[in-house]
């Protein structure tokens, strides 16, 4: 296996579908945030004009979507599930190829996965690791010890992976070795990467 091909094809394909999301509330007002070139990631989900990101990335109804070829286009929030931390943006001018989705429930622990996002402002960065589980957050891990906030269900399943995420990965995809998206990067708990399972997107976003 030539080393320069390690995940290269799958990563290139997925990176072509990943955008940066700049929150309007931050992008126009406070220069410090805007100069970082966005503080979240997202990816083209359907038809090239619908984008998935994290709800905590978009605080208002509008956001700027920065395409892989560097165009900044307007996006409008058309769906939001704050409890699951998922938002759907409509950006008709973006014209970005949609991702293909995979099934995290079919993955075995130890399978290679990778994330694409903009950790600490580094554009379209790839980080590689392995899949662990799709389950509720393990007992004794950070958030699981706290009382669930605002009626949040502590037993909802998360894609859990040993892959390095940082601020700027939020809303970006985590994919299997073929580049099929298995989850939406949401947060890090006790060092563990948590993502919203891809199969949940359909249901969450049709309800919103």
């Amino acid at each position: 296996m030539p080393s320069d091909l390690f995940l290269g094809d799958a990563a290139a394909r997925l990176r072509a579908s990943v955008v940066a999301i700049v929150d309007e509330a931050h992008g126009s007002g406070r220069g410090r945030r805007a100069s970082r070139g966005g503080h979240g990631a997202g990816f083209a989900w359907r038809g090239g004009d619908l984008f998935v990101t994290s709800a905590h990335v978009v605080s208002t109804q509008k956001a700027v979507v920065v395409t892989p070829d560097g165009r900044a286009v307007e996006g409008r929030v058309v769906g939001r599930d704050v409890d699951r931390d998922i938002a759907l943006l409509h950006a008709p001018e973006a014209r970005v190829p949609a991702v293909t989705c995979g099934d995290p429930y079919a993955l075995r622990p130890g399978s290679l996965v990778f994330a694409v996002g903009h950790p600490l402002g580094v554009k379209d960065a790839v980080s590689v690791g392995v899949f662990q589980a799709v389950r509720a957050i393990p007992r004794g891990y950070g958030m699981a010890e706290q009382r669930p906030r605002r009626g949040r269900n502590p037993f909802i399943p998360w894609v859990q992976a040993d892959v390095r995420l940082a601020p700027g990965n939020s809303g970006g995809p985590i994919a299997d070795v073929e580049g099929n998206v298995i989850g939406v990067a949401a947060m890090i708990v006790s060092g563990l990467a948590l993502a919203v399972p891809a199969p949940d997107l359909e249901r969450l976003l049709s309800n919103s």
Partner: protein, 299 residues
């Protein structure tokens, strides 16, 4: 091979196979509140985990790969190497397939396994960072090989195995021995400590019953005796306060590590010769190494 997609998919499958194979001998150990730790079914009926994660010696249970939770009995612990041993009924699960850590080289892909709940074995992925010879842990234990990786030892992964890409187990991961690095206690050390713990419940440590301080002398250095307890090997040998031990067993003695090397392993009962400087004159003294009393100092 030219098809990168299939070869990377094959590697992914191989890693998942390795997790499945090694995971069949990995249990969750419930010996502390809230968060379990991980244990390895090292030999039939014997589970090894890290000493630091065993907070209770009664009412311990382990979760098996099939989700069943069974009682385990505490067999012994060794703080020096951060290992603890439990007994479970024989035949409860597959016995670990052990590898030879000496074959691992920096850059080799490895996995750390953990079992936290009923959801199957979990894995962290990385590479061997550094290997080396024998070393002494800060807790005092002698470890046969230095084996460090860039793996993340997640909460609850302590006591779990270091697994290579074929599924063989090369040792027990300790988050506590060399924090924040992932350090593995290699198979040979685990075998040695497990045998001692099963036989006695603890690892006997050599001891002479004196407190010492490193000092400089005209000839180099030595250890100055600053207290000697009654009825100890040091007292019986006629050592006196103020003596400076400059050699032990024919080797110069300038640091505690050199003394601990002589006192480790099967040293209990062994007679060793000392060169001692007393009142400016060098003399020879023989001391019979005793066994460090348990329940005093470090266990």
């Amino acid at each position: 091979m030219t098809d990168s997609r299939s070869s990377i998919a094959a590697l992914s499958d191989q890693l998942a196979d390795a997790v499945a194979a090694a995971g069949a001998s990995v249990v969750a150990v419930h010996a502390r509140p809230r968060l379990p730790s991980t244990g390895v079914h090292w030999k039939d009926g014997v589970v090894v985990t890290t000493e630091g994660t065993v907070k209770q010696e009664e009412d311990i249970t382990v979760s098996l790969p099939d989700g069943k939770r069974i009682p385990a009995t505490f067999a012994g612990r060794d703080r020096g190497t951060d290992l603890a041993v439990l007994r479970i009924p024989p035949g409860s699960l597959r016995v670990a397939e052990l590898g030879d850590p000496a074959v691992l080289r920096p850059g080799n892909l490895v996995l750390a396994l953990g079992r936290l709940d009923e959801g199957g074995a979990r894995a962290a992925f990385g590479a061997v960072s550094a290997t080396g010879g024998k070393w002494r842990a800060w807790k005092g234990g002698e470890i046969d090989r230095w084996l460090q990786s860039d793996l993340t030892i997640y909460p609850g992964f302590g006591g779990g195995p270091l697994v290579d890409s074929t599924g063989q187990i090369h040792g027990i991961n300790s988050g506590a021995l060399s924090r924040p690095l992932a350090t593995t206690i290699p198979v040979g050390t685990v075998n040695r400590v497990v045998a001692q713990l099963l036989e006695r419940g603890y690892v006997p440590r050599g001891w002479i019953g004196a407190a010492m301080q490193p000092v400089r002398t005209d000839e180099g250095g030595g250890l100055l005796l600053v207290s000697i307890e009654k009825d100890t090997p040091a007292a019986k040998a006629g050592l006196l306060l103020g003596d400076v031990i400059v050699t032990i067993d024919g080797k110069s003695l300038e640091s505690f590590d050199q003394l601990l090397d002589v006192l480790s392993g099967d040293s209990v009962g062994k007679k060793v010769g000392l060169d001692v400087v007393r009142a400016g004159k060098q003399r020879k003294i023989e001391v019979v190494i005793g066994e460090r009393p348990r329940g005093r100092g470090r266990r």
